[in-house]
């Protein structure tokens, strides 16, 4: 484009420069399509939030060996799970030298840095990136999405295909009639603090080498019995600490997320990890955790939904950016196909649907489609069972002269005092069934 020519018609318009949008943009640009990407933040990443773990595999599908130049914090060598009760933690975890070798499995990252870098890659490949611009509406013609309207003067743009990568609260999806109603029991509210802490302290407290990192997923008391989880991830010289719970439950229990994160930070098992640090940043984010049943129609004439906008989050495995990037790439591939066929209807774009359905994205979400509902109906997994595990472990490890056989009886009695044994077995069986 020369200095003074301007076109409002592109092959592809991508709304949102997060992992999903950028992945779609890069995929399309590689095939020589004329792509414009719009971002409401000051720069890509400035408004984007996630727990802070980025997976290598899906990222490499977009940019091979990205880890050699991308701004990353630590590669994760150990994953821990803590089941918290009021004053105890039953812990489990996995640490391996294998995770210490390149190529690494996953990394802790700051989205404000990583997304900026990732979007620059798209710009380097010829994508036009426009920031600080909000897309407010879609332009329809004969029932087909043909363009978008921004909040700027002369702000209409047209394209063969629009990609909505504008997050959980997708305005595009809503305007196109694809998010009929957002229900409070399909959205989780997560808050996160970046907690600065000396590098040496992090490495000592988490028992890691200079480059390695640790994740801790916190269950049970971390959410004060609400359905949700909390986490701690190690960065270079800070920790990401956060907690998320379903909005419906926060409302019902009248607990605010601010109280939740305070209670996580002051939990006796966590407080020592944070000692001497201070809050550098405070972030909040909506996470679409409705699972398989909440996935809207994501492929219509002229429009594809990707990432959070398509409600693609696997909450059980804390995977979001992974699904975002992969869905973005699939959308890109479908758009390339549609361009070679010259058909931008839902039918012409159906490659997207096929790729999604044959991939881990839809298959995983389908596999876990009953988990949200199950846990919502079995809140004892967040309240009673952590306490039972705590009491059992306490008895088990306590040396007090009681024979082991006797101890086992005591433990079992303690449990059955709290919950009938048939109920416990049924919960275990059903719990296993929803995740099997």
């Amino acid at each position: 484009m020369s200095d003074n020519s301007y076109s409002n018609k592109y092959d592809v318009i991508i709304v949102g420069a997060g992992p999903a949008g950028v992945s779609a943009a890069i995929t399309c640009a590689k095939a020589g399509l004329n792509v414009i990407m719009l971002e409401r933040g000051e720069h890509p990443g400035s408004k984007n939030v996630m727990g802070g773990i980025l997976y290598r595999h899906p990222t490499e599908q977009i940019i091979p060996e990205f880890y050699k130049e991308a701004p990353l914090e630590r590669h994760i060598t150990e994953e821990r799970v803590w089941l918290l009760s009021k004053d105890s933690a039953v812990t489990m975890g996995y640490k391996s030298k294998r995770f210490d070798e390149e190529p690494h499995n996953c990394f802790s990252v700051f989205r404000s840095k990583f997304d900026k870098w990732f979007a620059q890659k798209a710009v380097d490949m010829g994508v036009t990136l426009i920031c600080e611009t909000l897309v407010e509406d879609v332009i329809m013609k004969n029932g087909k999405v043909v363009g978008i309207r921004t909040n700027r003067d002369y702000g209409d743009l047209y394209a063969n295909v629009i990609v909505a990568a504008d997050g959980a609260n997708s305005l595009i999806a809503a305007r196109a009639g694809l998010h009929p109603e957002v229900r409070s029991n399909t959205l989780a509210l997560a808050v996160k603090e970046v907690y600065s802490l000396d590098r040496e302290k992090i490495e000592d407290r988490f028992n890691i080498d200079s480059e390695g990192g640790v994740t801790i997923e916190l269950l049970g008391d971390a959410t004060q019995g609400l359905m949700g989880t909390a986490f701690i991830y190690t960065n270079k010289d800070s920790l990401s600490i956060g907690v998320g719970a379903f909005i419906s439950q926060l409302m019902k229990q009248k607990i605010s997320v601010y109280d939740l994160i305070e209670s996580v930070k002051t939990h006796p098992m966590i407080k020592p990890l944070l000692k001497g640090g201070e809050t550098k940043e405070y972030l909040a984010h909506l996470i679409p955790e409705g699972g398989y049943r909440a996935i809207p129609k994501y492929c219509i004439d002229g429009l594809l939904l990707v990432g959070d906008a398509a409600m693609l989050v696997n909450s059980l495995h804390r995977e979001g950016s992974n699904l975002a990037m992969t869905s973005g790439r699939f959308a890109g591939e479908a758009i390339i196909q549609a361009h070679s066929d010259g058909d931008f209807t839902a039918k012409g774009l159906s490659t997207y649907k096929e790729l999604m359905e044959h991939s881990f994205i839809v298959q995983d979400l389908k596999k876990y489609k009953n988990t949200e509902k199950f846990f919502e109906e079995h809140m004892q997994f967040f309240t009673l069972y952590p306490q039972i595990a705590d009491d059992a472990a306490y008895e088990f490890f306590k040396v007090d002269g009681i024979p082991k056989k006797e101890k086992q009886k005591i433990i079992w009695k303690q449990i059955t005092n709290k919950i009938p044994s048939w109920r416990l077995l049924l919960d275990i069986y059903n719990g296993w069934r929803v995740v099997k």
Partner: protein
């Protein structure tokens, strides 16, 4: 009318930190912005163009990355952008900088007569407010600083009526142009860029002029042309907080007594 606006790329001082040991600015990772006062100068020039026609040229002096400042104003729809960039400019103080910019304005004027030169009141990093007046002096133009209002332009008589802020109020002036003004934020509200201008700015190319392009002499610029030397940079001492003498309302007698006692104790009275 043809306006030339001089802008400066500055570190976003809301995000600047000072190294506590050396007292120097830590510029690493600090985002750069267009000096906020300068944005209002650009807006003023655009408004005049909207009303009276003509052209807006924006110039900045700095390293190659200062082109980002020009890109920012390009989104507002300015007509021409010029980056003054040369190793020989490095280390210039306000005297040398005003010389370099004057040379550039003269060159622009020779191609396309300049009616107005606009600058921000001062840059938020140096806070000197010297370059604008320096250019006016060198160009032998009337100078009006701290402009808060541009009322009207008479293109027949070549006069401009404006208001400037003074210590205890404002003064209205009618000035012949070509002239130079430095502006305050109150002058206007910077426009929101249109989408076409945003798109055009993504792949624009600024003109780059070096010392030969503007016919600048080595002795007048860089360290040679800069009589100013920085002796020392230091943080002002933190002011100690004052002492509150309590109970002034409930027991004024006691409070006054305590105050007098303290004042006479350290021999203030």
């Amino acid at each position: 009318m043809h306006s030339v606006v001089c802008i400066k790329q500055v570190p976003d001082t809301t995000e600047v930190r000072i190294d506590p040991k050396t007292n120097t600015l830590m510029r690493e990772g600090v985002p750069s912005i267009v000096n906020p006062f300068d944005m209002h100068a650009v807006e003023a020039a655009l408004k005049l163009r909207d009303e009276y026609g003509g052209k807006v040229t924006v110039i900045t002096m700095g390293p190659p990355q200062a082109v980002e400042a020009l890109r920012r104003v390009k989104t507002l729809g300015v007509d021409r952008t010029i980056l003054l960039s040369d190793r020989a400019f490095a280390g210039s103080d306000t005297l040398a900088t005003s010389y370099i910019i004057t040379q550039a304005v003269k060159k622009i004027d020779s191609e396309d007569a300049v009616d107005l030169v606009l600058c921000g009141k001062q840059a938020i990093d140096g806070d000197t407010a010297q370059v604008g007046p320096g250019i006016a002096t060198r160009l032998n133009m009337p100078l009006v600083t701290y402009v808060i209002d541009i009322d009207s332009v008479d293109t027949e008589k070549k006069t401009i009526t404006l208001k400037r802020s003074v210590e205890n109020g404002r003064t209205a002036l009618c000035v012949e142009y070509p002239m130079l003004m430095t502006v305050l934020k109150e002058l206007n509200e910077v426009r929101y860029a249109s989408l076409p201008n945003m798109i055009l700015a993504t792949n624009f190319k600024a003109e780059v002029w070096n010392k030969d392009d503007i016919g600048a002499e080595m002795k007048n610029m860089g360290l040679d042309g800069s009589p100013t030397a920085v002796r020392k940079i230091f943080s002002p001492p933190v002011r100690e907080c004052g002492e509150m003498i309590p109970h002034g309302i409930e027991q004024p007698d006691v409070a006054v007594h305590n105050l007098i006692e303290k004042l006479s104790h350290n021999k203030t009275i």
